[in-house]
């Protein structure tokens, strides 16, 4: 429970994630909460299923914490990502970054979510009204299968 970078099958406790980075030197805690969206370009999601390569995913989340420390002075980061079945509006990911001043915490938090979409082995399976699909390559905004329109691969920040 004390791990600062983890994958969980349970609902995420947002306060617990934030508390991991609260400390006396920090004057700012920025929290990013990623939730399950119902409609993407008019297409209705019923629920999502997330899968992770857990051991490696936790290492890569921790690496993102290290990268943040190289780029922003005196930052503390905690990231929790949920896997399994998630319903609409469920919390999929929580990122908390504390820094002495607010600007760094905003920037570092944004950096963390972008890096998650690049290097952390976690996958999302969309369950729509009319079918299912594993989503890939959101940063490029294209699917790794070519037979489906790119808009369905999410403008998913």
């Amino acid at each position: 429970m004390d791990k600062k970078f983890r994958i969980t099958e349970q609902p995420i406790n947002i306060d617990a994630c934030i508390k991991k980075v609260v400390r006396a030197e920090a004057g700012a805690v920025n929290t990013f909460i990623g939730t399950v969206r119902e409609f993407t370009k008019g297409k209705r999601t019923l629920y999502l299923e997330y899968q992770a390569y857990t051991a490696m995913a936790e290492k890569k989340l921790s690496q993102i914490g290290d990268e943040i420390n190289e780029r922003w002075n005196n930052a503390e980061t905690a990231i929790v990502h949920r896997v399994g079945h998630l319903d609409i509006s469920d919390v999929a990911v929580v990122i908390a970054v504390s820094t002495p001043h607010r600007n760094d915490s905003f920037e570092a938090s944004r950096y963390a979510i972008e890096r998650i979409k690049e290097i952390v082995p976690i996958w999302k399976k969309e369950h729509w009204e009319d079918g299912t699909k594993w989503i890939g390559d959101q940063k490029e905004n294209t699917s790794y299968e070519k037979d489906i329109p790119s808009e369905e691969d999410m403008n998913n920040d």
Partner: protein, 77 residues
């Protein structure tokens, strides 16, 4: 023997999350060829590769006991 892990769509194609196979001394590229011969519908071109939980290149040579994972484009967050 090495363990090969599959995720997301690749896992559904193979029908298993893990297979064990003889691959001591083979490169990752050799292993990919071997797997696509065995599973004709398996497309590994867009997958990144991890050896022992770190991203690796096609030229990486495998040893007994290694765990290789094929990582299709990720979609967390």
């Amino acid at each position: 023997m090495i363990d090969v892990l599959f995720f997301a769509e690749l896992q559904e194609k193979v029908g298993s999350e893990k297979v064990s196979m003889e691959a001591d001394g083979l490169s990752v590229a050799d292993l990919k060829q071997k797997l696509t011969q065995e599973y004709s519908s398996l497309k590994l071109d867009h997958a990144m590769i991890a050896v022992n939980e770190e991203y690796a290149q096609e030229a990486t040579v495998l040893n007994n006991g290694d765990t290789v994972a094929f990582i299709p484009p990720v979609s967390g967050g």
